[in-house]
């Protein structure tokens, strides 16, 4: 039986999970497991969004500030007495608007995504600072906090269900719709895609809008969980989300990547940081582990590819 890249990653995720449950005290405790499930969605949604951009050969460095800005939008509504529904809608509106701005410059003007989002990252950060004056906004009420802290049927965290919904949605959009197919084609060869009659700029624009949406959902979960919002909301997830997408097998030049791969990578990162935390490791060591894993896995990939090629040439000469 041959294992796909994603299945191997799934086994690694299972392996790290088992390892941590053996060495980290209290890892399998119900308290920690629910904690684990509560932390996963906010990071998972950002990683999913990053994966979709990377599929097009781009990258979104502004993603965490888009999320923070959406969070500020929701916070402003809530603290001024608007309903939760309005707050959620405004958050999504902010996220999608930021996405539209990125999408416009990337798709219509054609500037490389890394440069555009580098600029908008500073820009959005500035907008948040101008609104919040660097302070945090807090106090959103008990009902709103249910989104990030509540349970469905008293067992499964609500936010985890939201995450699963978006995992499935993203998988369907990527694999079953013509838009999704165009994303993969665009990532592989944008000229060929254009010549096959696909409107490249429209495909790209929708990608950035979708990223804005996912960032906003992540922001809603984060603000609800922490009951406050600040300019650095989720900023630690920026590099981690790129790392998760790449570790999940997404090709950084675009064209290949699977939702499940990213989900497994998110689980691996989450397991490691949660486990190391329980083991009493310095929080900075988690970063060291994540960086090392990224490089080791890609180095192993390189050697296994080389090994495979060698075998193939041997087979063909024999």
């Amino acid at each position: 039986m041959k294992l796909s890249k994603e299945n191997i990653l799934g086994l690694i995720a299972l392996g790290t999970f088992l390892l941590m449950s053996l060495i980290a005290p209290g890892f399998l405790g119900s308290n920690n497991l629910t904690n684990f499930l509560f932390q996963l969605p906010e990071f998972g949604l950002l990683a999913l969004a990053m994966m979709v951009v990377i599929l097009t050969g781009g990258i979104d460095l502004s993603i965490t500030y888009v999320a923070a800005l959406s969070g500020v939008g929701a916070a402003l509504m809530l603290t001024n007495g608007f309903s939760i529904l309005t707050a959620v809608l405004v958050a999504i509106l902010f996220g999608v608007a930021c996405g539209a701005f990125n999408g416009f410059v990337v798709s219509k003007i054609g500037v490389p995504a890394i440069l555009v989002t580098l600029g908008t990252m500073v820009l959005f950060e500035g907008v948040i600072l101008a609104i919040t004056k660097g302070n945090s906004i807090s106090g959103f009420g008990d009902t709103y906090s249910l989104i990030g802290n509540g349970y469905y049927l008293g067992v499964i965290p609500l936010s985890f269900l939201i995450f699963i919904f978006f995992v499935i949605l993203t998988a369907i959009l990527l694999n079953k719709t013509s838009w999704g197919r165009s994303i993969y084609m665009f990532g592989n060869n944008d000229v060929a895609t254009l010549f096959s009659g696909i409107k490249n700029s429209r495909v790209l624009m929708k990608v950035y809008l979708y990223v804005g949406l996912l960032a906003a959902i992540s922001a809603i979960i984060m603000t609800s969980r922490y009951n406050s919002v600040k300019v650095d909301l989720g900023s630690a997830y920026l590099l981690q989300s790129v790392a998760a997408a790449v570790l999940g097998g997404t090709n950084i030049h675009g064209g290949y990547g699977k939702v499940m791969g990213t989900v497994y990578a998110v689980i691996i990162f989450q397991t490691i940081s949660n486990g190391l935390n329980l083991l009493g490791a310095h929080s900075a060591i988690v970063d060291v582990f994540i960086g090392s894993i990224l490089i080791i896995v890609l180095t192993l990939n390189f050697f296994s590819d080389k090994f495979k090629k060698k075998k193939e040439t041997q087979a063909s000469t024999a």
Partner: protein
């Protein structure tokens, strides 16, 4: 003269002149030699890093670990300070060791990019995480002030030649050295060539792996020098002091006319890019723009500049295509 006007660098220079005129009207404090020297001295670190980043972007790669490497070297130098005697020998030792540490870390990046063929953004993202984590682990985020710095180092950092701070000379030396390498050495020409067209450069026999290894190693070397400059400028070692600087460095390089697709870029263009960002920040302070709005202005200018740059690049490409059709 006409070719001078057509140069990309000229348009940045024009923007700088316009900004300078506006600023000197807004604030009489702007156009004083003291203020201008302060602006330049305050951005020596960004300048040194941007010069190294220029080479990397010319080869169409990117390095997001530069601020982390610089911090790592600065922290190592800070740790070393406690053991150094108070004489000029310490200064020599620091100027030898810091670039070597940087060079070693940069070579690891270069090895992974050129030999193992992992995309540069992924490699440097990984090393960024590792280095930052290790630095925070060992320093616990603690700030190190100048009490245990050797006196020789402190007097070096206060030194002025002809009224110009010594750090500006360090930047000038780095700039001239890099310009010379790019223009007059084989490895420098190889760097330009692989950025222009990797396939053809391989076919004419350029060892592109060696060139890639070189740019990352050289970047590390410059990070070592930048670490000395940073320590001398702030007279302290702050493990969090350079957070996010890599993005400003990349922005400066791109503003300076280096093409993100590779093959084009100059040292003087990059220096102009750094100057533009530096003047903008200085100007906003002088013009008393609310600090919270300064990022908005900086971000908007970056977005505008890269868009403008890309539009003119596309026009140029279109022109090229037309000539081919006519011929």
């Amino acid at each position: 003269m006409k070719s001078l006007l057509k140069q990309k660098e000229f348009s940045i220079l024009a923007i700088i002149i316009v900004i300078s005129i506006i600023l000197s009207i807004v604030s009489p404090a702007f156009l004083t030699i003291g203020n201008l020297l302060d602006v330049v001295e305050g951005n020596v670190v960004m300048g040194i890093l941007a010069i190294g980043m220029t080479l990397i972007i010319i080869t169409s790669d990117i390095d997001v670990s530069v601020a982390a490497i610089t911090t790592a070297v600065a922290v190592s130098v800070g740790a070393l300070f406690g053991y150094l005697p108070d004489s000029w020998i310490s200064l020599v030792i620091i100027f030898l060791i810091a670039p070597i540490i940087g060079l070693l870390i940069g070579s690891v990046n270069g090895f992974l990019v050129s030999k193992i063929q992992i995309p540069a953004i992924v490699v440097t993202l990984g090393t960024l995480n590792i280095i930052n984590g290790l630095v925070l682990y060992f320093t616990n985020g603690r700030y190190l002030n100048s009490t245990n710095f050797p006196q020789a180092f402190l007097s070096f950092s206060n030194m002025e030649i002809l009224g110009i701070p010594i750090l500006i000379f360090v930047l000038a030396i780095v700039a001239i050295l890099t310009w010379y390498i790019l223009k007059h050495t084989f490895i420098g020409r190889s760097v330009m060539a692989i950025g222009g067209n990797q396939q053809s450069s391989i076919r004419v026999g350029i060892n592109y792996k060696k060139a890639k290894l070189f740019v990352f190693a050289y970047m590390g070397f410059l990070c070592g020098i930048a670490a000395i400059a940073q320590t001398a400028y702030t007279k302290a070692v702050d493990p969090n002091g350079l957070l996010g600087l890599e993005l400003m460095v990349i922005a400066a390089v791109v503003l300076g006319g280096t093409n993100i697709h590779g093959g084009r870029g100059t040292v003087h263009g990059t220096l102009l890019g750094v100057l533009l960002l530096a003047l903008m920040q200085n100007g906003m302070i002088l013009a008393r723009i609310d600090t919270f709005w300064q990022n908005v202005v900086t971000g908007a200018i970056i977005v505008f500049a890269v868009s403008y740059d890309h539009i003119s690049y596309k026009r140029q490409q279109e022109k090229l295509a037309k000539i081919e059709v006519e011929a």
